[in-house]
Symmetry: D2
């Protein structure tokens, strides 16, 4: 298993369904290079990443053993086609996260099989898709994921997501949103699972140009850096153990 | 040490500064029997409590050894005079919490010595006192403290408290507020400290009639019940230990 | 949906594979009425429970919609046949936990489908089945689950379970074990998932008479009481939400 | 306020009482350059640190405003003279931690004023000073603090520390010890407080050569790296906030 060395680049695989861009009105206008393209651009401009983008309709959804085993951090965007992701691929990504790979789940990825598998809950929530003002407040200043973010930032038009968000109590909640309509949402959350780090970051509806927003890009870049295992984790031993040292 | 028995009443001591009611315009109008009086009334109407109210200006701030040792749950409201609470009394209440007593800290009690002692942080926050609409969203349905509360409730006029709220990551966040001005706040939080339970519940500015609101009263009643140690805790042994069983 | 009322009994369903008792040498000697029988006896002797026992080989594994919907807390013992539990039944129990039902998972139940589903991790661990002395130390005095337990207790012969135990960081770790061979294990852990409470309690290998031990029984009884939702949880609303109050 | 830049060294201040080395038999033999000297040596050999050592008997206990403000991570060893540390200095270190400085508290530092201040609890525990074998088990593989540590390591002779350890539930428990006598202890724990990271690491009694052990040194080096704020944290704003963006 090859891992990112501290001196090298973080190997990121951006996973996107990639279908809305072809079928849903307005999405290709907002994201002419695909949502994956905008995310990859954000990482490449920040520097220090080796970025690969893969799509649902690629063979094995773009997540062959080789790809997964050579990924330090995965970024996940899905929305309308979660059910088409094969269980075998979900198993593979799940195993890799528990072995140390980071995963950054975005927006409607809350309903992806891999996120629900990692959380153990429904990951359900309230929503309203009318383009409302969202204010994101920092609730853990000093956390690496909010590096360079002031005490809050504003997105002018976004889909509303509202509580209750059915996830396990986050080990760290770093951003909480309020929406024009008065709802709130834990928009930035982090958990450890096995040897891996899991981040959920809310913004990014397909019909709004959210992934060009500099604050949103900064949080994503920071989250990928934070979630990266910078070294080969020790072998974890399970099973029968002889007595002694 | 006498403790509440399951079959008996929960012995609650409501602590209030009790000075705003005498000196600050409008407070006596909102709370003719004092803030402590309104809180005591809420508990008494709910039933199952033996309620005592004490004030800053009472001898030992009303918190003699006898009072503290016969309290199952303390409710704390303070605002302008935190600095006048003697360290010795804070020590006494702190010891009692670690031994199992519950404590429910309300609103501006976030800056009380006892809460800052228990948290180990500044407990600072943002605020704006202009009477704004507050919506409180339930973020842990099923938790005993939000029993009987729908998925949200509204207070028409309250002081705004905004994040960052400098407390340790809550072990459970059960309510998050949004305010008219767009700010958010973790308004219902719980922690264990030693053998005791600590609850922070945000609403209750002295110039608004918040403590007559049925939802607010319900949360306070639930919080006191949840924080109650219903039995004598086992003796906790520290110090030198001989080998063997 | 009918729920336990505070004045009534807690409705417990004890689930057991029930096969070792028939096929594995020594198990029927240790548990002539089955492991489920010993567990039911412990609850019945403590009082306040309405106990039902069901087995893997019952129709629907004993977990029909009716049974699951009328259970406040489930106790789960499985070991050699986890793979035979139908996914549909796991889905049903999982939904019920997220809706508020408590679940107390015992010993080798760490590898059950329902526990792994709730945790989102492998739940793997080290083990050695040689009958070693286990000392269980209380790490959260005052917690209702260790009510009546001194600062530690000893089991003379048990299977060893050793760390790393691949579960999410417990929200509360109330017991940690050391074994004769020098290993340690987080033997008592609790988490919230949705509106439900999840407890893992380690002891109880099928060839040792562990479930007759008074301390072990006390922890199980306490855990069932703690995990019980004593009231109808509010309806949790998800999905599209209109603006306004 | 000057902070460590990613490209530079981590500025570490090792604080030691420095009295046992002069007065207690055997300590100067175990630590001819003082406990602080052994700790500084470990960091310097690992590289990437700019290490300063200060003692209780230095002016301001070696913790002037200048020293504290130019420290990224503090390492704290104290035992017999916690009470002599001035409150004003504790306030200063406490403020700096909440502003982002890391602190790694070692062994008997559990009873230091700064650690108890940060935890909000007594930080009490059981102990026995007879030189017992300690086995430390990794309970969060993949965590940067246990990088390079196998699934466990052994210290041949150490003071026993036993549970209950009266601290808030750790946000991450990365090591749990078992001792020859059968006790257990959460030996590696981490918390966030404000913008700062707090680590407790158990080993290191003054009469044993523990701080020469390669595994112990590795954990300390890793902990200092993990606790370092590698960048200037954003200004945290508190107090009255005007409406608007």
């Amino acid at each position: 298993m090859l891992w990112h060395m501290a001196s090298g680049s973080i190997r990121v695989t951006v996973w996107n369904e990639g279908r809305h861009e072809r079928h849903k009105p307005g999405v290709a206008d907002a994201y002419p290079n695909g949502i994956h393209g905008a995310l990859a651009e954000a990482l490449e401009q920040a520097g220090g990443f080796e970025v690969r983008t893969v799509l649902l309709d690629d063979p094995e959804h773009g997540l062959s053993e080789d790809v997964v085993e050579s990924t330090d951090v995965m970024v996940w965007w899905g929305h309308g086609y979660h059910g088409e992701v094969e269980e075998e691929i979900v198993d593979r990504v799940h195993r890799r996260v528990l072995s140390g790979m980071g995963i950054v789940v975005l927006h409607s990825g809350h309903f992806s099989k891999i996120f629900r598998r990692l959380m153990g809950t429904t990951c359900d929530l309230k929503w309203r898709d009318e383009g409302e003002r969202e204010v994101l407040w920092v609730t853990r200043p000093g956390h690496p994921i909010v590096r360079g973010i002031a005490d809050h930032f504003v997105i002018q038009k976004e889909e509303m997501y509202g509580e209750f968000f059915d996830v396990p109590e986050p080990e760290c909640t770093f951003l909480i949103s309020s929406f024009e309509g008065g709802e709130v949402f834990r928009s930035g959350c982090a958990w450890l699972r096995g040897a891996g780090k899991v981040v959920y970051f809310r913004p990014g509806h397909e019909t709004f140009p959210t992934y060009y927003d500099p604050n949103v890009r900064r949080v994503i870049v920071n989250a990928v850096r934070w979630a990266c295992p910078a070294w080969p984790p020790e072998e974890v031993r399970y099973g029968r153990r002889e007595k002694g040292w």
